[in-house]
Symmetry: C2
Subunit: 148 residues, 2 copies
């Protein structure tokens, strides 16, 4: 098992960060603009990417507002299904620091390299969304390579 | 052992990418603006970050122009010393795709999370440097959190 790790500091409250990670309108602000669903603990979010008829589906399996959010990937790329995405929050200064971990990858395939860089750009988008009100969710996401 | 993985596509030749990864003036264009040293296979580069009296030092241990570059970290943060940074190049379209791996971390410490996101921003800087002539090497690097 290998993980994708990231760390970003955001000038927003832990509660605002939690909202952006666990609700449809929050996730729509930085990851995929057409996200729908219930959110909240045990809720599921539908997150369209390339193929609108086959959105990624994530379940919010843990939610401790201001402290941590954990997703399970229910549908999406084969390499993603069954993996978990965890966000742990801390407050070292006026920023909320997000420790990110996408865990459960079976192998460090080339697609995992792509997803690691892409997650970094989406976490920068999360910061922009929360600090300026204007993130870069798909389809406005920063393209990084020939895969998007 | 855990690795940091990334993937980025750059509209430049594999030879230009190799140059940017294995010479002092190349590395100065995207990682640390005050990089000095010999570069080339077996050469060492001195790459200053926070403390100019204690630069990071990397040795170019493998160099296959247009194909791959591999560094060994000789001096730098304790977690980095002895680790390797590998860049493998391919050419799926008019872009050179860089597969990045920073390998040999002993533990997935919080600093590794930071470095993973920071590497993504430096690879975006490498792309800007090669595509536009103007990257974001330190001290012009994008700050991502309370650690820089």
């Amino acid at each position: 098992m290998v993980d994708i790790l990231h760390r970003i500091g955001i000038r927003a409250t832990p509660e605002a960060v939690t909202h952006a990670l666990s609700t449809a309108d929050g996730v729509a602000g930085w990851w995929s603009a057409t996200t729908t669903g219930d959110g909240g603990r045990g809720g599921r979010l539908s997150v369209p990417f390339d193929d609108p008829t086959h959105p990624y589906v994530i379940e919010v399996v843990d939610l401790d507002p201001g402290v941590s959010v954990r997703w399970r990937v229910v549908a999406g790329p084969p390499e993603w299904v069954g993996t978990h995405v965890e966000f742990r929050l801390s407050r070292p200064d006026d920023r909320t620091v997000v420790l990110f971990r996408h865990q459960g990858w079976a192998e460090p395939v080339e697609f995992m390299h792509h997803c690691s860089t892409k997650w970094a750009t989406y976490l920068l988008s999360l910061r922009e969304h929360l600090e300026t009100g204007s993130g870069r969710p798909r389809p406005h996401d920063l393209k990084i390579d020939d895969w998007g």
